[in-house]
């Protein structure tokens, strides 16, 4: 039973990282209709930037991370301004491919600046555990869940309560009507990319903090978050959170229970399980659990 509880917390912790990455996807998708395959690149840049600020320039962790967030947000803004803005109205594959191109360039910039070795970004939480009802829970997991939850809270408050958030929702639901009300779609697109960059940095820090460190493989976490995003529905922030948690739990429990029970499945089955689940769900609900159905006209 205590094992189960441990896995549950680990799953939710992994799921909240996925939820954060998905939130980045959803923000950009809702505002601009782009699936950002370069999100993993932003995650990796955020983690490396934190390493630069915290380890090399010895800033305290609590200052380094916000600075890195600002840096990546500014970078997202530039990316939108100089690359993605020119692609408005282009077909889906062109936009997907250009974000993939951005991902390649980003990864190589990182490798040129920081090399291929695993770099530490600081270990604010250590390897300590707390004992909850006989189960040893890692403090780092609790911090991950807490940080993700508070980010999501800030995010939802922003979208529900502030003028900017309401403007973004208006721009997403009806760009022309929003334009008529004086909401600049360009500003909205820029802000969406900046938010995605900031959120990606938090995700990158949560992935890389502690003993794991950051190297280029961190960007792969975004590819593992895709099923979560699709499961929740591309354009739903609530869906991103739900999808993230579900996929995180599925991954951890598959690794913990299914793999030992069915050794013929081989190694790494927990990596493809989210994709299998996603395909199964899409067959029943083609727009994910919370996504809005696209209205099609002839």
């Amino acid at each position: 039973m205590s094992d189960f509880f441990q896995f549950l917390v680990a799953g939710i912790s992994l799921g909240s990282v996925y939820a954060l990455i998905c939130l980045g996807f959803v923000v950009i998708y809702r505002a601009t209709g782009v699936i950002n395959f370069a999100q993993g690149g932003l995650v990796v840049v955020g983690a490396y930037l934190t390493h630069q600020l915290v380890m090399r320039w010895s800033l305290p962790f609590v200052i380094g991370v916000p600075l890195a967030m600002i840096g990546v947000a500014a970078f997202g803004l530039l990316l939108e301004r100089f690359v993605l803005r020119r692609m408005v109205g282009q077909p889906v594959f062109a936009i997907i491919l250009i974000t993939l191109g951005v991902l390649f360039v980003l990864e190589q910039i990182c490798s040129v600046l920081w090399g291929y070795d695993v770099l530490m970004i600081g270990d604010p939480w250590g390897v300590r555990t707390v004992n909850v009802g006989g189960a040893a829970i890692r403090i780092a997991d609790l911090w991950t869940i807490g940080a993700a939850l508070s980010t999501l809270g800030v995010f939802f408050a922003l979208f529900r309560r502030t003028t900017l958030g309401i403007a973004m929702r208006a721009g997403a639901s009806d760009p022309e009507a929003a334009l008529a009300h004086g909401i600049s779609p360009r500003a909205i697109h820029g802000v969406a990319w900046a938010i995605a960059g900031a959120v990606a940095t938090i995700a990158g820090v949560l992935v890389a903090a502690g003993p794991k460190g950051v190297d280029l493989t961190v960007s792969a976490v975004a590819f593992r978050a895709f099923p979560a995003m699709i499961l929740g529905g591309l354009d739903s922030a609530e869906g991103a959170v739900a999808g993230g948690i579900i996929i995180g739990l599925v991954e951890v429990f598959t690794a913990a229970y299914l793999a030992p029970a069915a050794p013929w499945l081989g190694a790494n089955f927990h990596v493809v399980m989210p994709y299998a689940l996603m395909i199964a769900v899409l067959m029943v609900r083609p727009y994910g659990l919370f996504g809005t159905e696209e209205v099609r006209r002839v």
């Binding site: 594959f93 997907i96 491919l97 951005v102 390649f104 360039v105 090399g115 081989g266 493809v272």
Partner: protein, 372 residues
């Protein structure tokens, strides 16, 4: 009469203006186009005897990539179904070849046909997803296909040899005629030269077949689906038939390319069929030209040769270090970055690809002296 008639000598004259739809369907409309096509074929035929073993090898891989890219262009460029799952079908074809030819000992045309058919079959099973899912959702599902394929290739040890890979013996030999040891005019060809001739003949045949598909009824149907699938359905195009058909044909091409790849490389491992390969194929058709068979071939040639070109030039660049590991610019870094930048640059500045540059040149001379 076409107006350049008096200005150009008769050989260069565009002999037919397109006044009817069937004129648009002609493959090589004017005599210069026919002569040009012949010239290209001749140039390709003598290339392996001129460029040396290294570049012949590169061209063999480019030809294999061209077959796969033609398949992807049929699906993405003509039917409008974006797929990141091409690597999976290439892998399926490669492993099918290793089993059919290497293990079961089937003779040449049969293992290739069977591998292509198997790929087509798997494509036909995946196809129905495209009926239910559209746009971005379909992209992610085909992305999932690559990861699931990766998992299967790594874990189905008895067929794929797992992570260590498997040695493939799939000779392209018809009776006494073995592509691995051809002789021409009393001269023995190397294995690479033999494969070169075989692969590019296959590109020619499969390219023309694909071109003919696009010029005929199914071709018009899939292009209608690409432009507006709902409207196509309303005017009587069966989405089930053509979407699934497009997936099957495209995966068949991919599996065929994978099988030839396995036969030439003689060794395949799961690392050959990662997501990066899928991205490369999508990049090929974008750089070459979306919705163009010629574009697929151009893109495959360009993107296969480019890393080799960069490699051979990198030694002369002072800022590129030859060894990997530490920070700094390596050949690998340079290649990946150039690949990414190339995709971005083409999409931003030449979204219809290299073939559009060619068309523009052609238009300039056709309209001469009134070109501007």
């Amino acid at each position: 009469m076409s107006y350049p008639a008096r200005i150009l000598p008769s050989f260069f004259r565009n002999t037919r203006l397109t006044t009817e739809y069937r004129h648009d369907l002609v493959l090589w409309r004017s005599r210069p186009a026919q002569a040009g096509a012949l010239l290209v074929v001749v140039a390709f035929a003598i290339a392996p005897f001129v460029v040396g073993t290294y570049w012949t090898t590169v061209l063999v891989y480019a030809g294999i990539a061209a077959i796969g890219a033609i398949g992807l262009n049929l699906l993405t460029g003509y039917t409008g179904q974006v797929s990141l799952g091409h690597a999976f079908f290439l892998g399926a074809g490669a492993y099918a070849a290793s089993v059919f030819a290497g293990r079961w000992g089937w003779p040449f045309p049969f293992w290739l046909i069977a591998a292509a058919a198997l790929g087509g079959l798997i494509g036909g099973v995946v196809g129905p997803f495209a009926l239910r899912l559209r746009g971005n959702y379909l992209v992610i599902v085909t992305l999932g296909l690559v990861f699931i394929g990766q998992y299967v290739f790594e874990n189905w040890d008895s067929v794929t040899g797992g992570l260590t890979g498997v040695a493939v013996r799939a000779p392209v030999a018809l009776g006494t005629l073995d592509v691995g040891s051809l002789s021409l005019l009393g001269r023995r060809l190397s294995r690479t030269q033999g494969y070169y001739l075989f692969v590019w003949t296959a590109v020619l045949v499969l390219g023309l077949a694909a071109k003919n598909v696009t010029r005929s009824r199914p071709g018009r149907a899939i292009q209608a689906i690409r432009d507006r699938d709902l409207a196509a359905e309303v005017i009587g195009v069966s989405l089930v038939q053509y979407k699934v058909g497009a997936f099957a044909v495209s995966s068949g091409y991919a599996a065929c390319a994978g099988a030839i790849y396995a036969s030439f490389a003689r060794y395949v491992s799961p690392l050959d069929f990662t997501l990066f390969l899928s991205i490369q194929y999508v990049a090929m058709i974008v750089v070459g030209g979306v919705g163009s068979i010629l574009g697929s071939i151009l893109g495959a040639l360009f993107l296969t040769a480019l890393p080799r070109l960069v490699e051979s030039l990198a030694g002369r660049l002072p800022f590129v270090s030859q060894s990997g590991g530490d920070a700094g610019i390596t050949v690998f870094t340079l290649n990946q970055a150039i690949f990414g930048l190339l995709i971005i640059a083409f999409l931003l500045f030449e979204p219809w690809g290299m073939v559009e540059i060619w068309r523009r040149i052609k238009r300039y001379f056709l309209a001469w002296p009134f070109s501007y």
